[in-house]
């Protein structure tokens, strides 16, 4: 199974997690096109060639360095695609309190304005491969509970998937429950030892040098990837997941190292 991953700075966690699981699923390969922030708008579909091209010259150069060719890719060369990025923050909707049409319209609006939809629509313009959407993890905190952390995401993911599936052959994959401290807050242990993927040639994964509470570590990525692969029918047995690396203790992480 060939999986195409297109994602933002949360992609390294998934890639490193997959590296741990790869021996358990030798038939699965993973190709990633990653960059920082919200860059999905820079892709453009080439319907005639069935390819997705990158318009932004710097990002295109990076893709050329990492993947060769002209930096574009053809979704139909893969069995499925994982889009990583954006939020699906759901303000909550108690169903049945409003008219059905209004509730449907709220869910539709939410789906159509999710950042991953920017890319999903482009992928759909050139291919019909199944797509999974993995949104950014909820933040962790060293200072106890974050504001709104207790707010239940409600049945948002189920409502979204009820529309995403039939309309786009896509599915939102939510955060593994075992990684959550509160409904909207990730356990601190998953935010320690996270890595970034350097944008320069020859650069591999490098640890974040400041106290980043947004990006998660390899263990988190492995838990998420294991969930995805099991959903895809891969027989992933028990895998020894590393404890949080913790090679940058609190004192070292609080200031950027220049």
């Amino acid at each position: 199974m060939k999986i195409l991953v297109i994602g933002n700075s949360h992609t390294p966690a998934l890639l490193r997690g997959f590296a741990l699981l790869a021996p358990q699923c030798p038939d699965v390969s993973l190709t990633a096109y990653a960059h920082y922030h919200r860059f999905f708008g820079q892709f453009e579909p080439d319907e005639a060639a069935g390819r997705i091209r990158m318009k932004h010259p710097a990002i295109r150069r990076r893709f050329i360095k990492t993947h060769g060719g002209d930096g574009s890719f053809r979704p139909l060369d893969y069995d499925m695609c994982i889009i990583i990025g954006g939020y699906w923050l759901w303000a909550g909707l108690a169903l049945g309190r409003f008219s059905e049409a209004f509730e449907r319209a709220i869910i539709d609006e939410h789906i159509e304005t999710m950042h991953p939809m920017v890319l999903l629509r482009k992928i759909r313009a050139v291919s019909d491969i199944p797509v999974l959407i993995v949104c950014n993890p909820f933040m962790a905190s060293r200072a106890g509970m974050l504001a709104d952390a207790q707010a239940e995401p409600n049945n948002g993911a189920a409502l979204i998937n009820a529309v995403l599936g039939p309309r786009y052959d896509a599915r939102l994959v939510t955060q593994p429950p075992e990684t959550l401290l509160y409904p909207r807050q990730t356990k601190l242990e998953y935010a320690i030892g996270e890595n970034m993927w350097g944008t320069w040639k020859g650069c591999d994964f490098k640890p974040y040098l400041y106290d980043d509470m947004m990006h998660m570590n390899t263990t988190y990525g492995a838990l998420l990837m294991r969930r995805i692969l099991r959903d895809l029918g891969q027989d992933i047995g028990e895998v020894a997941l590393p404890a949080a690396e913790g090679h940058l203790p609190y004192a070292q992480k609080t200031m950027p190292a220049l």
């Binding site: 059905e100 049409a101 209004f102 319209a105 304005t113």
Partner: protein
């Protein structure tokens, strides 16, 4: 020969400059007009204020909300909905999801449902397999799923209206129309002619009513009685919509019909302020529609009020309710201010209103298009 200085005192010689057309109006640009309204009661940002009425009331509610006033919202949409979606489904337009209440009789009808638990008609309009609420025909753009859903939704709006009345300190109502459609031989009134937005028109079933001063005034008095009974001490702020009628079913020229209607509404508002010391009238109608504004506050269709007009009305409202500046305020005013963050709104930028009455334009020649 006598000079003006030697004229013996008379009632006019005691009047302020604002009492004279030349000094108050002719020699003053409309944007500089002063003291056009002296509020009867205090309104500030902590005053719980609700807004209902004709389309123009939507501007008033939106501006109060955006300027940080304690606008009472009895029927809140979920946070997940965008502002555009809320508007499309009739949320945040008025303090409850009643839709436009154009006439005093329609206001009274809503208040009877909300405050007296009067029975609501069981009527439902069907179109294309969907159900429309005859009393809020545009509240759901594509109609309701079922009659039960429609009734449930209206019950929520009725309960919200009751809550808003009991919670408000100031209830504002913008009078819009005198013409209306009622069930033949009865008092049940619809905000729009059946068969225009939804439903099927039947001359046997529905009757056009042109209300005169007496009827408009009687219904307003009764509405005020209901309001004050439910919320003793409630202050009421009336205004008349400066938006002319879209169409008339009287056979008269629409300009003549519209002028007659606005004149009646203005007279009724005047009567109310004279009769009740807890009722006030804000002259937004005069600011927009009268000769000093030379029509500049209207859009190209000479009907919709443009953004500059809305802003001017709100600025006048805010200036009027704000106490006179202290010495310190006056000093601060002399200091150079920051560059304005936003340019003045362009004349045609005004946000569209949700106005059922506008559908009537579609029945005019060439679909009533504004050209």
């Amino acid at each position: 020969m006598t000079t003006p200085n030697m004229t013996p005192p008379n009632p006019y010689s005691q009047q302020p400059a604002t009492a004279f057309w030349r000094s108050a109006v002719a020699d003053t640009h409309i944007l500089d007009i002063q003291n056009i309204w002296q509020p009867r009661f205090t309104i500030d940002k902590s005053t719980r204020i609700s807004t209902f009425g004709s389309c123009f009331a939507q501007h008033f509610g939106r501006e109060l909300r955006s300027r940080g006033f304690a606008w009472v919202n009895g029927e809140m949409a979920p946070n997940a909905a965008s502002a555009a979606l809320r508007k499309k489904f009739g949320y945040d337009l008025f303090s409850a999801r009643t839709g436009n209440i154009y006439t005093t009789s329609l206001l009274r009808q809503w208040l009877r449902w909300a405050l007296e638990d009067a029975p609501q008609p069981g009527e439902a309009w069907q179109m294309g397999g969907r159900v429309y609420d005859p009393f809020r025909p545009a509240i759901e753009p594509d109609g309701f799923e079922s009659v039960a859903e429609m009734r449930k939704s209206r019950d929520v709006a009725v309960a919200a209206l009751a809550h808003v009345v009991r919670r408000s300190e100031v209830f504002t109502f913008t009078l819009g129309l005198t013409e209306c459609w009622r069930r033949a031989g009865g008092e049940v009134e619809y905000p729009i002619c059946p068969g225009t937005t939804a439903g099927v028109f039947s001359a046997e079933k529905y009757a056009h009513v042109q209300q005169g001063f007496d009827e408009v005034w009687r219904n307003l008095r009764r509405a005020i009685t209901l309001l004050r009974r439910a919320r003793p001490g409630l202050k009421i702020l009336l205004s008349v919509s400066p938006v002319p009628m879209t169409a008339t079913a009287t056979g008269a020229h629409v300009l003549v019909a519209s002028t007659a209607a606005k004149s009646i509404l203005r007279a009724v508002a005047d009567a109310a302020t004279k009769r009740f010391d807890f009722v006030d009238y804000f002259p937004g109608y005069e600011l927009v529609s009268q000769p000093p504004s030379r029509g500049m506050f209207y859009s190209a269709n000479m009907r919709s009020v443009n953004a500059v007009g809305v802003d001017f009305v709100m600025q006048t409202f805010l200036k009027s309710i704000t106490p006179a500046p202290s010495v310190a305020d006056e000093y601060i005013d002399t200091l150079p201010g920051p560059e304005p963050k936003h340019a003045l709104p362009q004349a045609e930028e005004v946000e569209d209103l949700a106005c059922e009455e506008e559908i009537l334009a579609a029945f005019g020649p060439e679909g009533g298009r504004d050209v």
